[in-house]
């Protein structure tokens, strides 16, 4: 500033300069140039968690942390798991951690810790579980974790004989938060939970030095070298995850991979039929299953049979209202249906998911919340001593993923985390011994078995149970809506994956790290726009021009095209779109005069246009049915905001909405 004034030597020049400065200071309106806008989008680091996954084992969503930070990063979890597996197999072929990428990522997500830190510690401490490492060999402990006397441990050797080292039963358990030995373990069970438990404040600030001064104290380690080694590995793994690039290129990589691999939509491809199996039969029923020789025995358990049937009917109603096809394994509370028959119902329905609902009035509520998935190797034993074993790995994988979702949802509803574990049927009178319920053993669809218990279980507790089951089912098997799809997601799933999950807060003009302007599209929407609606996308256009997908007709069109529901849907303009759906009765059913959501089905396209001639004056949006956050619609607005979730408003000056429903 001093140099600027030095250039002006006369009073007049001084006055002019003062004016200029004052004008600059008083200006409050800053225009947003298209280049500013581009930079915002390019610098925005987000990953669309609904996008297609390349690794079915990783059923976790992206985090919010920096890719090179200490908390769970905003990167594709599947890509992270693949990167870890690639790194280990290439650089440490003898590592006992080979192939554990998805387990490490899932546990890291649970603890909100970077999975790369786990790998980094493993490399520093044990050469990534080298079989000859002392801690690895003696305690399946690749992380040099010490233990307290009350924790599972083994003693050090020589001068370190007084040191207690943590002991896991397997290397996998050391990084698997779902392992039974880690459930409710004091101080944190798996490595990720442990470091979260002990070093949360350092992790949340990505304070690597503070964290490692605690984990690998300078008195015993070269801590500085330790930190440098871990951080270098994190950078390497981030590059492996993103294809090798900077933070901004990670976004581009994500969008590109979505385009090239499976489009921009996501979702489960297995359908949306849910089988609900309320426990127990109205009469005692004991038969020998002819196919296996197992004892198929069920009975009437008073209170339980009634309570779980009520929950099942409620779930059926709610899921049906959301758009699911729901099949119950019995029609009436006191029907008698064998366990084989129940499994057959699910099998013949080709259900995406079956759940059994049980409760128990014995143990305390806090001590008895349990979920069982189908694990390969679980079995039941016939009276003749023959083991009938569950062997379907593909179903086991899905069942495990869904069990985890249901576990999370039940925990969110009740505040108590149910354990995922096998059920023992040993020494139970009249039952074949073993560790898997017969419905799950006989099933060839993913089946999650649920139990909850309490002395005098309350209506509130049962309601929490029901809420958790509902949310868990919806999370496990997202609705796909009508129409076919390029990669499995239908209209609803695609709309959800392209839209922001909530409206931009215009009252406060609240900006977020991910969405600086209301017109900012999600990365997935931007990618879809470029691929499916390029004529209505202009990178150089100014913000608010509607050329960034911030337009109702363009958003609906992009969803219809990206989902594969209708590749010929007009690219924009409510007038053109209204005309199109009405002129294609072979594709669309038109429902006129929509004034209530009671007339709608999820996936319906709502259109109103009151323009004369070809004059467009209207709006269009997609009805999704009730979604997370209470929203039920997805829409964009010309020049105002990008695709986002909202609630329907069915009034329009001078016109009434009609719905276009894609024929199946």
């Amino acid at each position: 500033m001093k140099r600027i004034f030095a250039k002006f030597t006369t009073p007049l020049q001084l006055i002019l300069q003062s004016f200029l400065i004052l004008l600059m200071l008083s200006s409050q309106v800053f225009a947003i140039s298209s280049s500013d806008y581009l930079s915002v989008i390019r610098e925005t680091t987000f990953y669309d968690e609904n996008s297609c996954s390349t690794n079915p084992d990783v059923a976790v969503s992206a985090g919010t942390g920096s890719p090179t930070g200490a908390t769970f990063p905003n990167l594709d979890p599947s890509a992270m798991a693949n990167a870890i597996n690639t790194y280990i197999s290439k650089n440490y072929p003898n590592s006992l951690m080979n192939g554990l990428g998805s387990t490490i990522v899932a546990s890291a997500k649970q603890a909100n810790v970077s999975p790369f830190i786990i790998v980094g510690i493993g490399r520093q401490e044990s050469g990534l579980a080298n079989p000859n490492d002392w801690n690895t060999k003696n305690g399946n402990n690749p992380f040099g974790r010490t233990a307290t006397p009350t924790q599972p441990h083994f003693n050090g050797s020589g001068s370190a004989s007084s040191t207690l080292w943590y002991k896991w039963t397997t290397i996998k358990s050391s990084v698997d938060y779902t392992a039974a030995e880690n459930t409710n373990a004091s101080g944190g069970g798996d490595e990720a939970s442990y470091i979260r438990n002990r070093f949360a404040s350092h992790l949340d600030k990505s304070d690597f030095v503070g964290f490692f001064e605690g984990y690998a104290p300078p008195a015993e380690n070269d801590t500085a070298a330790y930190v440098a080694g871990v951080q270098a590995l994190i950078t390497e793994l981030v590059n492996l995850t993103t294809g090798g690039g900077s933070q901004s290129s990670a976004v581009q990589t994500s969008a590109t991979s979505q385009n090239s691999s499976c489009g921009v939509c996501g979702g489960d491809t297995s359908g949306s039929t849910i089988v609900i199996d309320p426990g127990h039969s109205g009469t005692s029923n004991r038969v020998i299953d002819p196919a296996t020789g197992l004892i198929d025995f069920d009975y009437k358990n008073t209170l339980e049979i009634s309570e779980v049937f009520t929950i099942a009917k409620d779930l059926q109603a709610k899921l049906t209202a959301l758009g699911y096809k729901v099949v119950l394994t019995k029609e009436n509370e006191n029907d008698t249906v064998s366990l084989r028959q129940r499994a057959d119902i699910a099998n013949s329905s080709n259900a995406a998911l079956a759940i059994s609902i049980h409760d128990d009035h014995g143990p305390t509520f806090a001590n008895f919340q349990q979920i069982s998935d189908q694990e390969v190797g679980s079995y039941r034993t016939t009276p003749a001593g023959k083991n009938i074993t569950f062997t379907n790995q593909q179903i086991a994988d899905k069942s495990k993923v869904y069990a985890t979702y249901i576990q999370q949802a039940r925990q969110a509803a009740s505040g108590i985390q149910p354990a995922i574990k096998l059920i023992s049927f040993d020494n139970r009178e009249g039952l074949s011994p073993g560790n898997i319920p017969l419905v799950q053993l006989f099933s060839n669809v993913p089946w999650v078995y649920n139990e909850v218990g309490a002395n005098g279980i309350t209506a509130d507790q049962l309601k929490q149970y029901e809420t958790g089951l509902l949310d868990g089912i919806v999370k496990s098997v997202p609705l796909t809506g009508g129409g076919s799809s390029i990669c499995g997601g239908g209209i609803i799933q695609t709309a959800l994956s392209l839209a922001w999950p909530e409206p931009f807060d215009k009252d406060t003009n609240k900006e977020s790290e991910q969405r600086k302007y209301p017109q900012t599209p999600t990365a997935a929407y931007l990618a879809a726009l470029k691929k499916y609606n390029p004529a209505d996308y202009t990178e150089s256009a100014p913000v608010g021009s509607g050329r960034w997908g911030d337009d109702c007709g363009i958003f609906v069109s992009t969803v219809m095209r990206a989902s594969g529901a209708d590749p010929n849907y007009p690219q924009s303009g409510t007038m053109a779109e209204a005309s199109y759906v009405k002129s294609h009765p072979e594709k669309y059913t038109i429902i006129e005069n929509i004034t209530s959501t009671a007339q709608l089905q999820p996936g319906d396209i709502l259109i109103v246009n009151v323009g004369t001639g070809a004059g467009g004056n209207g709006h269009t949006f997609i009805y999704l049915g009730k979604q997370s956050g209470g929203y039920d619609s997805a829409e964009a607005s010309l020049g105002d905001h990008s695709g986002e979730l909202s609630n329907a408003w069915l009034n329009f000056k001078g016109g009434v909405y009609f719905a276009a429903r894609l024929k199946k």
Binding site: S26, V608, H619, L638, A648, N651
Partner: protein
């Protein structure tokens, strides 16, 4: 420095200080902003009776302001707007043709046609958010009662201001149960316009 230069320099300083003070005062009083999204874009737009350029953003005092929009062949509109301190709002309207001469006006003016659509969709957003804020029950709907006894939806009717609830229920008992559910959520059913559909949901 002679006496004249000193006087001039002092005067300039006073002027600059005065201007600076005025701008600060002005900014504190005129703390709200209004911009416009108007179709046809060539309409005559007045803010509190004074003709303005609708392509600009205006800094105004908080409080009530009136925007009038008119154009030959279209029905004029008046928009009442209330501004809080520091608030920015957009005056939105797309005029509707009222003569055969302008029937296809938007057809022949595609840029204005886009503006008109933008107005419509922004009105949707504003109205939707306002409706949910006034009736948070919307976030719970549709709600289906136990055993498909009833279903509660929401919507709007052209001649009714505000949200309209729809209760689909086959009999009086189910309707009563639905109303009781609404009460159970802390709402007075009589405060809503309710449309009944007598059938199973």
């Amino acid at each position: 420095m002679d006496q004249r230069v000193k006087v001039i320099s002092f005067s300039v300083g006073v002027i600059i200080l005065g201007l600076f003070s005025y701008l600060i005062y002005n900014n504190s009083i005129y703390s709200s902003k209004i911009d416009f999204l108007i179709a046809p874009s060539v309409s005559t737009v007045k803010l509190d009776g004074k003709k303005i350029n609708p392509s600009k953003t205006y800094t105004i005092k908080p409080g009530k302001h009136i925007v009038t929009v008119s154009y030959d062949g279209f029905t004029s509109e008046t928009i009442d707007m209330q501004f809080n301190k520091g608030e920015k709002k957009t005056a939105l309207t797309a005029l509707v043709s009222n003569s055969s001469a302008t029937k296809d006006w938007y057809l022949n003016h595609p840029d204005d046609q886009k503006i008109a659509e933008g107005v419509s969709s922004r009105q949707f957003t504003q109205a939707s958010q306002q409706q949910v804020a006034q009736n948070p029950i919307i976030k719970l709907l549709p709600w289906t009662g136990p055993n498909f006894e009833y279903r509660i939806d929401y919507g709007n009717l052209p001649d009714v201001k505000g949200v309209v609830l729809t209760i689909t229920a086959p009999d009086e008992k189910s309707k009563t149960d639905a109303l009781n559910w609404i009460k159970g959520q802390g709402y007075d059913p009589t405060s809503f316009t309710i449309k009944y559909i007598t059938e199973s949901p």
